[in-house]
């Protein structure tokens, strides 16, 4: 039983990693007032770019870099439509998602001819699990040993990056001048503008940060958790991350815990597939997978606390009116 608990908790961290990156991405974008339902598409494009570059060059670092660049380019398309041309942010996000879903398969098929998948990557071309120092030495210590060696140690470097990212995002948002301005531009862009700060530049930087983080999330999926890009491999994770961000009420730490919760549900759902639990019997796995969405809907409806979005979210900023 211990083994089951430990492996489920380790899987929770793995499942939560892309969610954390994407939720933090959404946080930057939405706190600046730009709705980002294109997390999914940017992550997918990032995953494809990473898998392709890893297959061609063999370097995971280059692959990560490519993922980030491609995802930032997509976020610039989003920014160009919603910030420069004041287009509808939701429509633009949908466009990003659908274009990415189509284009990754079109390019993948044209280049590799495997129905949109990229070639399988050898371990040296990927971010493999790393053993934290002392993991082996502590393994036999009761309680702490297995927790450290099997849950905390043995993840990809990107998982550790995701966890360190959260305090970093918190610090940037709440303790730096940039963060203050970013939050202000999402609440009252006119005030920020009056203070002589460019709303457009702030929103573009927020949107690009979102792209960067989505790219990392995508790279994690295709060159760390998996060994290739597969068609539609994000499988709705971008939306789960969006849900986690809303569930965390647009704040870094609560969003992080929501990601862990949703990652945990994911891990459990995989474990319970086709298993009969003593006392409960056959567990309907699709219902467990639906729980993140149900939680988010219930939260948004104000039945458990109130999730209040940034005030200026979704509104294009028009100067001089």
């Amino acid at each position: 039983m211990d083994d089951v608990v430990i492996s489920t908790l380790a899987a929770t961290l793995r499942m939560a990693t892309p969610l954390i990156f994407c939720a933090m991405a959404g946080l930057f974008s939405e706190r600046s007032g730009v709705i980002d339902i294109g997390l999914e598409g940017k992550m997918l494009a990032g995953a494809f770019a990473a898998a392709t570059v890893a297959a061609e060059t063999g370097s995971p670092m280059l692959a990560l870099f490519a993922a980030v660049i491609v995802a930032i380019l997509l976020s610039l398309v989003h920014g160009f439509a919603c910030i420069t041309h004041r287009g509808d942010q939701v429509v633009s996000g949908v466009a990003v998602n659908i274009t990415a879903a189509g284009l990754t398969v079109v390019l993948g098929h044209a280049w590799y001819g495997r129905g949109g998948n990229t070639p399988d990557l050898a371990p040296e071309k990927r971010f493999m699990p790393v053993s934290l120092p002392g993991a082996d030495a502590l393994r036999d210590v009761p309680i702490i040993g297995p927790i450290y060696a099997n849950i905390i140690s043995g993840h990809s470097i990107l998982t550790y990056a995701a966890v360190t990212l959260v305090p970093l995002v918190w610090f940037v948002l709440y303790r730096t001048r940039f963060g203050l301005r970013l939050r202000a531009v999402g609440e009252a862009p006119a005030v920020v503008d009056t203070a002589g700060i460019s709303v457009v530049r702030l929103r573009y930087s927020a949107v690009m940060l979102a792209g960067l983080l989505c790219g990392v999330a995508g790279a994690f999926l295709s060159i760390s958790q998996n060994a290739a890009f597969q068609k539609e491999m994000t499988a709705g994770r971008g939306f789960i991350a969006l849900a986690a961000m809303i569930f965390g009420k647009w704040r870094p730490w609560p969003a992080f815990f929501a990601c862990l919760l949703f990652g945990f549900l994911d891990a459990i759902a995989i474990r319970l597939q086709g298993v009969s639990v003593p006392g409960i019997g056959h567990v309907p796995v699709p219902l467990i997978q639906a729980l993140p969405y149900i939680f988010t809907v219930v939260l948004l409806a104000g039945f458990i606390g109130k999730a209040i979005a940034p005030k200026a979210i979704g509104l294009p900023y028009i100067k001089e009116r």
Binding site: I35, I37, V77, F80, A81, C82, H85, R86, G87, D88, Q89, V90, V91, S92, V94, A95, V96, N97, I98, T99, A100, A101, G102, L103, V105, V106, L107, H109, A110, W111, G113, G115, G116, K231, G236, F239, L242, A243, I246, H282, P284, P286, L287, Q289, A290, Y293, I294, T296, V297, L300, A301, G302, A309, I318, K319, E320
Partner: protein, 376 residues
């Protein structure tokens, strides 16, 4: 920044600008084809031939278009009320569920003339019910309809997997689908209908749903532009505050618009479940809900435009299959890409071209209108 937008003549607003946007999307799509080593012009020839080259091709094109008319209308009705219904996909799934449940329950008892209308009604009611929950949450609990309808898409998918695996699965079957309905619960193919009159056309999935889709177009036109509720919907969409001032309750309008929107999306189930599959299965919607967004944007939320846009997308889907067959480096997902690009250019970047078109128009029109003060 810029001056107040000038009044452009109607034919530029609803003709030139939308066509320009679609052209830009197609040019980008052409560049993508060129990048992967396919000749875009050759591709267009295969596409058009594949979509319209024979009676068989027309049948498939119109069959795809049928579903897109339903989802396009669904998105458009919500747009008129100022709402973005991104949940057409989920509403279509649940609409199909409604049709399937009624068909499975009564196909041994009721005759077709009673059962089929009942099943169509069930599609509408189920689709509407799935849309009303997010509408209610938006109207009375303040949650954002875009987020809730996205969540409801996933909920619909999960619910359908659960129902098909644990409830409706045919006992002797491994695959996740229900038993096949009896003849009483099916909509006839158009080929069969023509056959009654002694006209022979190739057998395709195109079925009587397309007639229902065209009826829906007419109903939506009358409803939006000729009825009191339609007026309230448009007024709320244009300016909720002015609508309140006129005694309209935006909360009611939200509920009604979304119910109608959901009912229309639910009719995808009529086309797919009653018309083609004749059983309940997974993933029969296959993205039609999202295509509806592109269709509505391209068709400028007007039923006539939606019919044209649906035929274009139907042609892309059918022609795309032929194209993938003729040029092996191109996959069917090229269609998804084009769809995304059309949503980008016709939707998010809809007004990108306006300033320069406006400038050209004013420059061309000014001397004749005589409004420019003469120099001298």
């Amino acid at each position: 920044m810029s001056a107040r937008p000038a009044q452009l003549p109607h034919w530029i607003e609803i003709g030139v600008l939308p066509i320009l946007n679609v052209l830009l999307a197609l040019i980008v799509a052409g560049l993508i084809l060129w990048t992967i080593g396919a000749n875009p012009f050759e591709a267009i020839v295969f596409l058009v031939k594949g979509a319209f080259g024979s009676g068989y091709a027309w049948g498939y094109t119109l069959y795809y278009a049928t579903s897109f008319i339903f989802t396009g209308l669904a998105v458009a009705v919500a747009f008129h009320a100022g709402l973005f219904n991104i949940g057409g996909e989920g509403q279509a799934v649940i609409g199909g569920l409604g049709a399937g449940v009624v068909a499975l329950a009564f196909d041994h008892i009721l005759p077709a003339p009673i059962l089929v209308p009942l099943a169509i009604l069930a599609s509408c009611v189920f689709g509407a019910a799935w849309a009303i929950v997010p509408a209610y949450l938006q109207a009375y609990r303040g949650s954002h309809i875009v987020i809730t309808t996205i969540m409801f898409n996933f909920l619909a998918a999960s619910l359908m997997v659960y129902l098909l695996v644990d409830v409706f699965r045919d006992a002797g079957q491994m695959s996740t689908q229900s038993r096949t309905f009896t003849e009483a619960a099916t909509l006839p193919e158009i080929a069969a209908v023509f056959g009654w009159f002694g006209i022979k056309i190739p057998s395709t999935p195109l079925n009587l749903s397309i007639v229902w889709a065209l009826i829906c177009c007419a109903l939506v036109t009358v409803f939006i532009w000729r009825s009191r509720l339609g007026y309230e919907i448009r007024a709320t969409g244009l300016s909720p505050r002015a609508a309140i001032y006129a005694g309209i309750k935006p909360a009611h309008v939200t509920l009604i618009a979304m119910a109608i929107s959901g009912a229309l999306a639910g009719c995808v189930g009529v086309n797919e479940i009653l018309g083609v599959q004749h059983r309940l299965l997974l993933e029969f919607v296959a993205g039609a809900g999202f295509t509806g967004i592109a269709v509505a944007l391209m068709g400028r939320n007007h039923p006539f435009g939606i019919i044209l846009a649906s035929i274009l997308f139907g042609a892309l889907y059918q022609g795309g299959a032929e194209l993938a067959f003729e040029i092996p480096t191109v996959t069917r997902e090229m269609i998804i890409t084009i769809q995304g690009l059309i949503i980008l250019f016709s939707g998010a970047l809809a007004y990108m071209n306006r300033p320069w078109v406006e400038r050209i128009y004013l420059w061309l029109a000014a001397p004749r209108a005589g409004e420019v003060p003469s120099h001298g």
